[in-house]
């Protein structure tokens, strides 16, 4: 079934079409959400937020960019909102006591979470860029479309990230 036709039907108010659209893309949404927050329950939350947001803003999709790109953008924005709300709740004990996913909680995962936090601190868009390029395997140009910046900006960010990693390695190397 043609995706654009599906989207048009959904935009016109066809709930079945919208449902199909959701079925088609939920996996992508969830996968990216999981990569963002590295936590099953949180990823489910983010994915659900994204689905709701999709329902709200599907009519605003104007077929200018690929739907996938547009969707990534939407998920990223949801994930960012979610992160902000998490920060707001940092002082509630609610999340601290939340049981961790056993399946994901390896040493690597802790390390990766730390890395992603560092990337987020590195500058705006760094974490997003790293996820899109390294985790989703996008080209710099595609990632640029999703994040609304030029391809060279993505290349630049990737370079900064690499350098950061390089420095980090060097630091760890010295420490060891």
């Amino acid at each position: 079934m043609d995706e654009n036709a599906l989207i048009r039907r959904a935009q016109a108010g066809d709930a079945t079409a919208f449902g199909e659209l959701l079925d088609l893309h939920y996996d992508t949404i969830f996968r990216f959400a999981w990569k963002w927050c590295r936590h099953r329950v949180n990823a489910e939350d983010v994915a659900q937020l994204a689905c709701i947001k999709l329902a709200n803003s599907l009519t605003q999709y104007r077929f200018q960019a690929a739907f996938a790109s547009w969707l990534y953008r939407l998920v990223i924005s949801c994930a960012q909102d979610w992160q902000r709300s998490q920060k707001r709740h940092e002082h509630d004990e609610l999340h601290e006591n939340l049981p961790r996913d056993d399946e994901t909680q390896t040493e690597d995962q802790i390390y990766l979470e730390q890395l992603l936090d560092e990337l987020a601190d590195l500058g705006e868009g760094m974490k997003e860029t790293a996820l899109l390029v390294h985790a989703e395997g996008m080209s710099h140009a595609e990632a640029g479309v999703v994040l609304g910046v030029s391809e060279s900006t993505i290349s630049w960010r990737i370079h900064v990230i690499r350098r950061h990693m390089g420095k980090r390695e060097a630091r760890v190397g010295e420490g060891a």
Binding site: A10, G13, A15, F18, G19, L22, D23, Y26, D27, F30, R31, W34, K35, R40, A43, E44, A47, Q48, L49, C51, I52, L54, A55, N56, S57, L58, T59, Q60, Y61, R62, Q64, A65, W70, D81, R84, S85, R88, E103, T104, D108, Y111, L112, L115, E124, A130, L131, H134, A135, G137, L147, G148, V149, S152, T153, W156, H159, I161, M165, G166, E169
Partner: protein, 756 residues
Amino acid sequence: MNPNPLEKLLQQPAPPPDPAARVAARRAALAEFARVQSAPVADSAQSRGFFQALWARWRLSRESNSHGRDSMPWYSRRMLLGGAASICIALVGGMVVWQTLQQDPRITELQVAETAHESHPAPEPEPYDAQSSAASTSATASTEAAEPDVVIAQEAAATAASANEQAQAAEHELARQAAERSKDEQQARAVVAPMAKSQGPAVEGTEEVVVGGLRESLANMMEAKRDTGGAADAVTSADIGAMPDTSVSEALQRVPGVAVAKVAPGSPPAPPPVPGTYREEGRDRFEQFEINPVKQVAEEPVSTFSADVDTSSYSFVRGQLNQGVLPQKDAVRSEEMINYFDYAWPVPESRERPFQPTVVVSDSPWKKGRKLIHVGIKGYELPANSRPDANLVLLLDVSGSMNSPDKLPLVKQSMRLLLGSLKKTDTVGIVVYAGAAGVVLEPTPVGDQEKIVAALDRLEAGGSTAGGEGIELAYQLAEKTFRKGAVNRIMLCTDGDFNVGIDSTQELKGFVERKREKGIFLSVLGFGQGNYRDELAQALAQNGNGVAAYIDTLGEARKVLVEEAGSSLFTIARDVKLQVEFNPATVAEYRLIGYETRALKREDFNNDAVDAGDIGAGHTVTAIYEITPVGVDARTVDESRYSKKIERPHVDKGGKAGEYGFLKIRYKLPGENQSRLIEKPIVPTGEKVSAEVRRDVTFSTAVAGFAQLLRGGTYTGAWTYEDAMAQAQSSLGDDAFGYRREFVQLVRKAQAARGL
């Protein structure tokens, strides 16, 4: 070799989604979808229902957290919902009062308002007063913009509550219900939806409460961004004063990615610097070094150094002196001052032997009895038709700091001059760097000059500097269009300020060095003053087998890029090292003038792995030793009472006995890895040379003396600027381009500056 752990970890697959979660998300989204479809967005913002306005505020208060203003605890949300509910109820109450009043035509509207005020302190329920209440709320919002929305809601709730006991009870009931349900955000949305439907008819026809000021502006800005699928950014402001900025341009900077430079492009350029006026200064950085001390031949008979053809020190010194300031001592490198001038050293005939050394011995003007030994080298000139093609990548700094008449505009003019001295088959690419690096012009044949000039003309300065990234991009471009047999060179034009990006000079040097092995060389052209990082420019050029030149005027650009284009672009000998071994029997002390930053270890001379200076076509390299012959009463150190006997045996060494020393030069031809050796004895009489060479020896001595004076004149005795001037005047020669006359003027300026 260094696998990026980030990439590896990120590529780990995500776990499959939980079907239950998928179903839940689907259900929630479909419910939302249904809600959206059943309540289509009204055409104009004016007719947005009250509920939607409230909804906008709700979202707004969530979003505003991103600005770090506050955090909204869960109980505030409860209060907000409660407040909203109470306002609705108060409005219903107001409608009822209005209905009652309508039935009694005798009561005027004015009385209505008064009655309302007496009985209800809050004007909220009065439709007539809705306008003023909106205004007051708006005023509250704008004056207390830093306060969360909740405060307003609470106020409204409080006033409304006091208006009606019954309403208050109802409100509490509603608030409690709402609070119970509002544990989950999505659930809350679901709760509000039916409320909107049920309240809808009553609410219609009332005025919308508009929260103005900064909050509204931020909301509109986000609203504008939310509605677009592509890349968009927006700033809205109801009035200029809404943003807490002092100017519109500051407000604009709230948009991510917008940088407003202090000097707008196209604005009139700053007036040219007037000598004596204040200029940014004191941040020019030079490698610090001590001048070469006098060495005892008995202790250290061998002097080894690398050739240096850079001339940037002279230009920098000239720039400073032209402003009436004496240059800082570390900016004065004697050998670069000396090598700035072209000397008439004899030129070799063949490329096989790219240069031949000339040794001239003369009396030292600084101390009676001492001698000067000039070692002169001139690389052969490449005839224009045998020049290899050049593949140049211009790497231009266009950061904000280049926005000065002696920087970017001069760079552009200089690059045009360079184009004039290139062949049609040469290619030129342009990479610029500021906050980020970018390719402005893919390598283009010089024949297509208009295109190159147009690309140059488009350049404007702005942003911060990330020199390291620019260099990498330039190398990428040069590698892409690498031409075998051609000269592949990057020409970096900068004010030397690499303030973002690569932080260690070492890292950058290593990078340049590795690329050099691949056959891509780097030259550095320095521009501007005040922030010039000479030591970095020098280091990069040295590691990139290139020249570091400092360009302060268009005339200097012409010298470097047109007259000396051959030497700047075409290397004829690489890793040129010089070594002089002095004969302790004839020479007591020696001192090398300059080359402090180029000193090599004795053992490095024969080690071909040690990098040294390169010589381009037509380059001249001049080194001057000041020696004290044995038996002359001009030594700085008294003769050793005990070691004398050890020196003696050398006297009987046959024909070598009379020599002052022995000169050895090692060099590599381009493309070779094995060094070649040139040897020559230094005899006390020197070589027989032409009058021209004699004259140039005199002139170079004047320059060397001047450089030493600028560095404090430790070894120049009673020699003064006047002597330098007189000596230079006497050896001007034909001086086709006026460089030597300019030198005389510089000495005069130094004299004047010293007097200040």
